[in-house]
């Protein structure tokens, strides 16, 4: 498919709900991605810095450090500044969408979502990045 000879894309899925995490992981794995997972914001930050994934799927409402905080700290760090982030959220108010864009999200999906749509969006995002 889109990754012919290079190493597989690495995606980090950060969500505090185990079921959703597993579901997203399964879908990306079946498409040939290498999947990392994080159950909360702190974990996500550590993994992003250590593993430098190609893309991050980030839930906003997580206990402790929430997704927006993780996104902002990623944008502030030159090492993680350019990694695209797709936000996942269960409450979709206009204010939150705006906060997400302002913080520098590449995309935004409201729960419940179709994993197929998410994968199509992420792959187009990564292909675009590659072309650039």
């Amino acid at each position: 498919m889109f990754h012919s000879k290079r190493r597989p894309f690495r995606v980090l899925v950060a969500d505090d709900d185990e079921n959703i995490r597993d579901l997203v992981e399964l879908n990306f794995m079946m498409e040939g991605y290498e999947v990392l997972t994080a159950a909360n914001g702190y974990e996500a930050e550590v993994i992003v810095r250590r593993e430098q994934p190609d893309v991050v799927i980030l839930d906003i409402m997580m206990p402790g450090r929430d997704g927006l905080a993780v996104l902002r700290s990623m944008r502030a760090d030159p090492a993680t500044h350019d990694i695209p982030v797709v936000l996942l959220t269960a409450k979709a108010t206009n204010g939150e969408v705006l906060d997400g864009w302002r913080a520098g999200a590449a995309g935004y999906t409201t729960k419940p979502f179709d994993p197929g749509d998410l994968i199509r969006y992420v792959s187009s995002l990564l292909n675009q990045e590659q072309r650039v």
Binding site: D16, D17, E18, N19, I20, D22, L23, V24, L26, N27, M30, A39, N40, M61, P63, A90, K91, T93, T110, K111, P112, F113, D114, P115, G116
Partner: protein, 627 residues
């Protein structure tokens, strides 16, 4: 302060005595005791009947003693004149019952001024009442008197009011000069008329009499007007919307200024009978000592203003109060809108002018009651608004949380279905099975959430009624335990025999089941104990476990909707986050309560308390930590 004023007075007496010693003995009319007594009487009368005049923006009491002095210069020997002046002045102050410190100081001031002016007149050397040089000498003497008086009064004013001496002198110089000039003219007119005939001065009597009467009336009116102005100004400054404590502070400040006291305390109740007070003095505004407030509330009488000498109070009562000579205490006349007591403490006893200020404080007390009533109303409205805002905020937070809680399991259900659709054939059998199991589990969770949300909504909007019927709580607990997954093997029942209770058995069962399920979920090992106890009024059902327990700071939070103390474990345990919230609401619906007890030994212990009759005649005991 008093000591310093008396010290200054002593200096004045000393200097005055030295000047008197130096006065020449010779005089125009030596050895006429009748004249001496006459002048003493004249000085006393002049001092006792001041003529009130308005000058510029101030009002002044013009005392004609200076005019008497002018006449005396031409009539008495210098030493006799000074003696007559001091004796007459002392007499008038005694009759007027002037405050001692003030009287002593003014007497000293007058003594020094009289001695100085007499000495100057003697130095000029002409005593002939028809000689213009002698008139000039008298004028000079009066100018000196004016200067000495001005300085003496200014020094003490500057000290008491804490203003620079220069400023005080400039402020009062004009009035002092005018008063002395008028006095000198009157005095000289009398001297000249006396020269013409002994009865000559009597032609002045009608004029002086008329001026005296008119000025007296005017002075009364002016004082009245001043009091009203001060009262209006004070009322105006207390018109701001303020809370209870701020209102008391403002009222005390104004009361202190109205009565010119050193300390003021404004006491009031919040309508519950508990008196509190705010104390204001030169330095600070602070909460008054409870003993002082108690004493003042006891001293005040509704609708009365009274002056209480502090020396007359019992020693222990006095110790509770601030220092001072006396205190003015006022309370509004019934029916007042609030219980208020205003008390002002004075360090210097007032003269007759000061006594009129009591009336002002009495009038102000009525206004103070209104201000306090407004403050209480303001606090009530403010609190209601805050409650309303808080409730609104809680509601929108609840809606946001509901959205999140409903969407999360729905995401798994829908995500699973679309994943199966897309990848179904490529997934292995066990993976497919696991996905489907989870979707089903989350679907079930969604169903329970919806059930509980509907129940919460129903109880909140009073749509849910208790179906009251006699119920055997012991039996309900046994059935609920038996219905638990695994037959409730870990549950240990200790049920005291209790008479049937008129309540809603179904709701009790729901609460008990929920509590036991929670215990089984969060305490994975150890026994779950269920105790039932009852007396004639209450039935108490306690469900305890030996799990990790709940930090005491979170003991109330567990009853809030969607509070998950350890989110990851709650999700894993399949809790909806509504169970305990709903249980408490159901308990309240049954006129009971549900509390999380303090358990120092660890674990959790929830207690459901129900009244034996469904509508208790007595309120439920307030358990610690319960909302």
């Amino acid at each position: 302060m008093t000591r310093r004023i008396l010290g200054l007075a002593a200096i004045q007496f000393a200097v005055g005595l030295v000047i008197t010693e130096l006065l020449p003995a010779g005089a125009p009319s030596e050895g006429r005791p009748v004249a001496l007594v006459g002048f003493i009487a004249a000085f006393a009368l002049a001092g006792f009947l001041p003529v009130h005049l308005e000058f510029g923006r101030g009002s002044y009491a013009v005392v004609l003693d200076e005019a008497v002095l002018v006449v005396g210069l031409f009539t008495l020997s210098p030493a006799a004149l000074v003696l007559a002046a001091v004796a007459g002045d002392l007499l008038s102050r005694l009759v007027a019952r002037q405050a001692p410190v003030k009287a002593v100081y003014n007497l000293g001031s007058w003594f020094l001024a009289a001695a100085t002016s007499t000495a100057i007149f003697s130095t000029v050397g002409h005593h002939d009442d028809a000689n213009p040089v002698a008139w000039l000498g008298a004028m000079l003497a009066m100018a000196a008197l004016s200067g000495v008086s001005l300085l003496s009064i200014s020094v003490v004013l500057a000290m008491v009011e804490g203003r620079p001496l220069r400023e005080v002198v400039v402020d009062s110089a004009g009035a002092q000069a005018a008063v002395t000039a008028a006095n000198a003219s009157i005095g000289l007119a009398v001297v000249v008329l006396l020269h013409v005939s002994a009865a000559g001065p009597f032609i002045l009597a009608p004029v002086v009499g008329m001026v005296a009467i008119a000025s007296r009336r005017y002075a009364t009116q002016a004082a009245e007007r001043l009091r009203f102005e001060r009262l209006y100004a004070a009322a105006g400054r207390t018109g701001e919307l303020a809370g209870f404590d701020d209102a008391l502070a403002v009222l005390a400040t104004e009361a202190r200024a109205l009565v010119t006291g050193s300390v003021a305390i404004c006491c009031a109740t919040r309508g519950n009978g508990d008196w509190v007070g705010v104390r204001v003095d030169d330095m600070a505004t602070r909460t008054a000592e409870p003993q002082a407030v108690r004493v003042l509330a006891g001293l005040a009488a509704a609708g009365e203003t009274r002056t209480v000498s502090l020396a007359e109070l019992p020693r222990d009562v006095r110790r509770a109060l601030p220092d001072g000579v006396d205190l003015v205490v006022a309370a509004p006349a019934p029916p007042a809108r609030a219980d208020v007591v205003l008390a002002v403490f004075r360090e210097i006893a007032p003269d007759s002018q000061g006594d009129l200020r009591h009336e002002v404080l009495g009038a102000f007390a009525g206004h103070a009651a209104l201000v306090v009533a407004n403050a209480l109303l303001y606090e009530e409205v403010d609190a209601a608004l805050r409650r309303e805002l808080d409730m609104n905020r809680q509601k929108s937070e609840f809606v946001a949380a509901v959205s999140h809680e409903l969407r999360t399991p729905l995401t798994t259900v829908m995500g699973t279905v679309s994943t199966m659709q897309r990848l179904g054939a490529r997934l292995e059998g066990p993976t497919q099975q696991k996905l489907l199991d989870r979707a089903l589990e989350q679907g079930e969770r969604l169903r329970r959430l919806i059930d509980e949300l509907l129940l919460v909504a129903a109880t909140e909007h009073s749509g849910l009624r208790a179906d009251l019927a006699p119920a055997d709580v012991g039996r309900i607990v046994e059935d609920a335990a038996a219905g638990l997954p695994g037959g409730g093997g870990r549950v240990q029942l200790d049920l005291a025999p209790c008479a049937a209770l008129v309540t809603d058995g179904e709701k009790v069962r729901r609460i008990v089941t929920n509590l036991m399920e929670n215990a089984l979920k969060y305490a994975p090992t150890g026994p779950i104990t269920v105790d039932l106890r009852c007396d004639s009024r209450y039935l108490a059902l306690a469900v305890g476990d030996h799990g990790p327990g709940i930090p005491s700071a979170d003991r109330e939070r567990v009853f809030e909707p969607f509070v998950q103390l350890d989110q990851s474990s709650t999700r894993r345990q399949g809790g909806t986050g509504l169970g305990l919230h709903l249980c408490r609401q159901l308990a309240q619906l049954l006129d009971g309560r549900l509390d999380l007890d303090e358990t120092p030994g660890g674990g959790c212990r929830f207690t459901l308390t129900l009244p034996v009759t469904s509508r208790p005649a007595v309120p439920l005991p307030v358990l610690e930590g319960a909302a």
